[in-house]
Symmetry: C2
Subunit: 875 residues, 2 copies
Amino acid sequence: MNKKYVYLFKEGNASMRELLGGKGANLAEMTTLGMPIPQGFTITTEACNKYYEDNEQISDIILKQIDSALIFLEEQTGKKLGSIQRPLLVSVRSGARASMPGMMDTILNLGMNDDVVQVFAEKNRRFAYDSYRRFIQMYADVVREVPKDLFEKAIDTKKYQRGLHLDTDMDANDLEDLVKVFKGIYRDYLHEEFPQDTKLQLIEAVKAVFRSWNNPRAITYRKLNDIPSSWGTAVNVQEMVFGNMGDDCGTGVAFSRNPATGKKEIFGEYLMNAQGEDVVAGIRTPQSMDSLKHVNSNVYNQFAKYADKLEKHYKDMQDMEFTIEHGKLYMLQTRNAKRTAVAALKVAVDLVAEGLIDEKEAMLRVDPEQLNQLLHPDFDKKKLKAAKVITKGLPASPGAATGKLVFTAERAQELAEQGEKELILARLETSPEDIEGMVVCNGILTVRGGMTSHAAVVARGMGTCCVAGCGDLTVNSDDKILYTKEGQEFHEGDYISIDGSTGNVYGEKIETVDADVSGDFAKFMGWADKIRTLEVRTNADNPRDAKKAYEFGAQGIGLCRTEHMFFEPDRIAAIREMIVSETPEQRADALNKILPMQRGDFEELFRTMKGYPVTIRLLDPPLHEFLPKKDDEIKELAKDMGITYKKLKEIVSDLHEFNPMMGFRGCRLDVKYPEIAVMQTKAIMEAAINVQNEGIKVIPEIMIPLVGDTKELRFVKNIVEETAEDLLKNSNSKVKYHIGTMIEIPRACLMADEIARDAEFFSFGTNDLTQLTYGFSRDDAGKFLKYYYEEKIFESDPFQKVDQKGVGKLMQMAIKDSKKVRPDIELGICGEHGGNPPTVEFCHNIGLTYVSCSPFRVPIARLAAAQAAVKTETK
Amino acid sequence: MNKKYVYLFKEGNASMRELLGGKGANLAEMTTLGMPIPQGFTITTEACNKYYEDNEQISDIILKQIDSALIFLEEQTGKKLGSIQRPLLVSVRSGARASMPGMMDTILNLGMNDDVVQVFAEKNRRFAYDSYRRFIQMYADVVREVPKDLFEKAIDTKKYQRGLHLDTDMDANDLEDLVKVFKGIYRDYLHEEFPQDTKLQLIEAVKAVFRSWNNPRAITYRKLNDIPSSWGTAVNVQEMVFGNMGDDCGTGVAFSRNPATGKKEIFGEYLMNAQGEDVVAGIRTPQSMDSLKHVNSNVYNQFAKYADKLEKHYKDMQDMEFTIEHGKLYMLQTRNAKRTAVAALKVAVDLVAEGLIDEKEAMLRVDPEQLNQLLHPDFDKKKLKAAKVITKGLPASPGAATGKLVFTAERAQELAEQGEKELILARLETSPEDIEGMVVCNGILTVRGGMTSHAAVVARGMGTCCVAGCGDLTVNSDDKILYTKEGQEFHEGDYISIDGSTGNVYGEKIETVDADVSGDFAKFMGWADKIRTLEVRTNADNPRDAKKAYEFGAQGIGLCRTEHMFFEPDRIAAIREMIVSETPEQRADALNKILPMQRGDFEELFRTMKGYPVTIRLLDPPLHEFLPKKDDEIKELAKDMGITYKKLKEIVSDLHEFNPMMGFRGCRLDVKYPEIAVMQTKAIMEAAINVQNEGIKVIPEIMIPLVGDTKELRFVKNIVEETAEDLLKNSNSKVKYHIGTMIEIPRACLMADEIARDAEFFSFGTNDLTQLTYGFSRDDAGKFLKYYYEEKIFESDPFQKVDQKGVGKLMQMAIKDSKKVRPDIELGICGEHGGNPPTVEFCHNIGLTYVSCSPFRVPIARLAAAQAAVKTETK
């Protein structure tokens, strides 16, 4: 038997979403529920894939099945496509597995031609020609790519000639004229007549919808929303019903609850005597659903009843389209409604209170990524409306910020010390030495750099709003001027505002409002914590971040990058002294200057984490990162350090690396300079002893980075262990500490059974692991990855979402092998992936102990972990 | 029962080499064979490892077992350690699993003390004190690290006072005096008396031998010879016999065949009235073994009989030590003899002819690395003796070369065109643009750079002799002067000579002799080809290399790096034009200029390979490698190209990469610039068609580099396939070609089951695969890997010998998974590892189809492959 590529609505149901798409599955389900649905059929997503396999042709098998379905529909409706007795008009709409609103194409009123229009004209001339001219325009645009504006201009001309303002002002004669003009446009552009064969119209429309799956905006949308191109779209062919046949007709869109607030009420808009697109177009102002009560209470009550029924059926808030044709209500579509984060939370909590779902199901009703909106300040919506966007960059770190412009990190620190509270730092790009200045700013704006640039990564880590890569701006730091493309100038102290969730930049002050994380948020996250089994820790390099993360529910620090503590002026001087040292003794002396500072930092971290584990990674970056590269800077530093330029220049040259990512860094530093590991271990253990003596529980976890071989780990571990044991013995203290390693080199995954013998914990450093597994450097990959997206070679960014097939396979090998030799090994992830919901789910599934992410992503990870636990249970 | 740590000689045998060490196992075996062996016992390698585990102490268990063995030895010999009736003297010698000549310590005459010496003095006073003073010196040096030269000076003083020249001129009184002086030195240096307790002497000596396993020269030797430190050394305690008790005594070392030529004859040296060390010391000139026939024909015949018996027993040429004590012959040691490459070949071939071994066993009698000596020219040995070494560098590419000094590649080309045949190019370091000049030189000398520098890699590839990293030399290319550290000057045209096998540089002309690869070599390699199942191909980027490799038995080209063809002046201009192109059309135009040149190269390769497969890799390096980096060079090039400096500078900046190894290269280039793949495919297929039309069979294999995902491969494959098919169709030709990929990214190994669907062959690019799996860049790793060797974290260079546990695991996964979807997939290796014998064996074992290596390593790989096949069979 042939594969079934076409399903009547009554043959499907909601569980067939993969095959029928979301819309098709819902139409089928609603049919089964006995809703008043205009009937029709769905051509499956498999048909779409076959269409592409067959070189963009619809095969005979599918054509035949469409034929049969059409015949059935004609019998069911008593109408017939192209008939001049009882003509059938249909809509042809896309419908993918996941909702992709507005991304693909739709054609309405299909079945119209010069004869059919007459049949309708007999009843309602204006409606008939209006429908026909709309159909011609849509078909020409979608199926044949005739430019839309040719038709728009013709409408404008017509209205101008007739002295009319609105499309609706045109009468039947105008519209009949327009049909002629439109057919002329079609003919002139394509050198052929507008097709009168209604069957051909149908097939061409179906193909066009299939094609629209791969239009550029659909591809972009899929990339952003992580939808594989292999899913394809289904096509729904459905009898048309008309909201524009007269004043007893209408059409609308309404929600079963308020999508902005989550309040339980019928919320939406409708227009009488209109088609769906009129509601969206905004020419006529739609009415609120409340008014429908008075206009047609019967229809309103019926709708409210259906809404309630659908909500109970789907156990979620619904977004429904309906049409009233001559007083009869038709439901056209229902789907789980998109909603704001606030609404999502309230709906989830309310549905639990109403007994429709339980706490576990509630977890799945909020998109973890949405929580982001709740954790950051936002602009006052009213004030925002009046503000003018001066440029747009990448939404690199969410939130809204307003403040006085400042051009260097040092100046920001100065102004902050003078009490300035609202500052926006504008830089060509930021560098590690800017961190102290970035901390005191509300927002960061950069001209260069992408979503993973230094500014973006650091800002996300700090929860500071950031707009990166504003290529249209010019920053002149010397003269302290910011120029827009149009030549507008902003000087130091001028107010600007940036929106890190949209990338918008405004040239003025806009009031912001703080996030509200009480009430529903607290209750909901409480459920999440009860349900999830995966721990959530944070990546925090300083007490400020640690404090924020603790407030957000972090259960420890999964990664403290000690080198981030080294860039303050007094520290970097000591580090540089260490680098230019010629003997281990000199090196130890220099390190001893840093020791009390590091110890102080660690004490603060232990205090903040109140008994949760604190994982501290030993020094990781190559040493040249602490030295200047430019000759004049080297000269200056040499003078400061009291050594010759020649000597310092030689040291800088010696440290130069061709591929620093794969260079002399991580534990490799400790093999050559054991003094570094000694100093850092002392700082950690002394801090732990001190804080424990304050009566606070401490769990130090010392993490040795960049291990690829067990002997390498053992070498550094021995240094750490000896230092720690000596210290504990000499201070007569007992502190339980753990030594483990970061798994970030492919070989470490391959050698996990050996390495686990010497490591109490593994923390997957998926940033480097991804770089090495793919063989591309994150700093350089931008140059070619855009072509990979364009050519659909890659569908998601492996630095955002862990590559489960490749990198994930290595992780799974490492987990399996490590557990063989150490069943109780603690397993975590501390790459930036740790806050990415699909990755959190993957981490749950492969058996990690915890994920660690930047502070502002902690709640997101908590929810994602709860969702993963729920999904596991229901598998 | 306790583990057995001590074996009497009669308890062991030759198969116990791992436990007893080579020497111990042989002594045991010889004992069993009924040879006249001074008896003794062996303390096992496990005891050595336990000694280290127990923090350099010998445990009680082992002490007890030594005691028992000693008692047995005393009963057997009727002598007793420390006895003043019949005192036993013993030697204490190291003996590891593999021979490590001279690397570890030995103590002779142990058991001497002030009382024992009297017993011996009664019989032979001179002998007694001579033995005692030797023992004191050895013990003091080896066990207590008293500086040797303190003793040497005392001897010199004594001889000076007495007006004597040679040690042997000293009489009994002198030696008795010396014993006193020596004991004084010992006392003064260590503040204690020389130990009189002979048992303590023994135990301390054993410990000292264990310790010598980890002396620096032993560690270095192990690293060079790839011997794991975990093996440990055994210690042999053996009754002393004396060749220095009078004129009817003697000692010698002899081979069962000539170790230089392989000729079957007793070959060696001996000295009458001497101890073993005297033979080596070179103070007295030893006699040739021939003369022993006349001195003591009885002993000579006995020795010849034993030599023959041992050779037949071990089925290999033996290296034996013997001592004659009062006319009685003692065999002290036998082992398979070290021999030159020439001798190794002759002995292997002769042993087959003599019926002692078969062809397969013969394979194992030649070290593949040794063949290197046979493939390159060498200095005339006689001439070499008189030559003076002016400096020493790294032996980067083997062979010997003599020629006139030249300082730039251009000048070398000029002189070569003028007919100059003997040229040595001296550079600070070489770069890709020097290649044409390097080709015309006999030898390359560089000041900077290591074994894997550009000069070294290219020279090895070309089989040209190279000495790299001569840090003591200064090269002034502008003035064309080479300075030695001592200030000696060499100018252009001055003769120098370099030895790429030793690293020696000579400041004069030295005649060279060509390699002789006829006779035994040809016969032996013929056997190897019959036995091996692994194919051997070559890495060759030009017809010259391909020709050489074909002569050396290569069965095809496994890797042709097309970019190496791009550096000639006319080609690089076109490449640069391509890089600065702004449209695909401009780019295609520039590429079209290169096409005929590439096609010509490929034609030559196909012709040279006479029907063997030729694997051509598409362009691999990042484009910035083809552009200058320095401002003045950019300015010049911009002028040449007729574009502005600013524009070219911008292009250079845009192409800059932080980690070029992980950058925009390999197939990533083809994704952005499909024109490159199109041009290269055309060049390959047009060449294939042309050569096939000449009646020569062609097998083009097009290799797509740096693939990490199957979609990426498929994208480029489609371009290649379309281009090839179009071309074949248009030219009405039929050529069977293959498309495959280089597996050099860890992810490619993990995705092998998917990638193999689109690849007819995999070629493991183990250079990059090693870099990425370990996460270190070959160009940078030198900075820290030396510490890894020092700390014994790494024991061999993963860029020389494939890391079987890590990289090898990935390879094995890839092989297994790829065969699942494509059982007949062709699998090769084309990293530099392909010519490394242990790697060749590994490749054989994991089921590769072929290895590919540089031309001069082809015979080495052929033999290594044969050895692997033999080992598999006998497993």
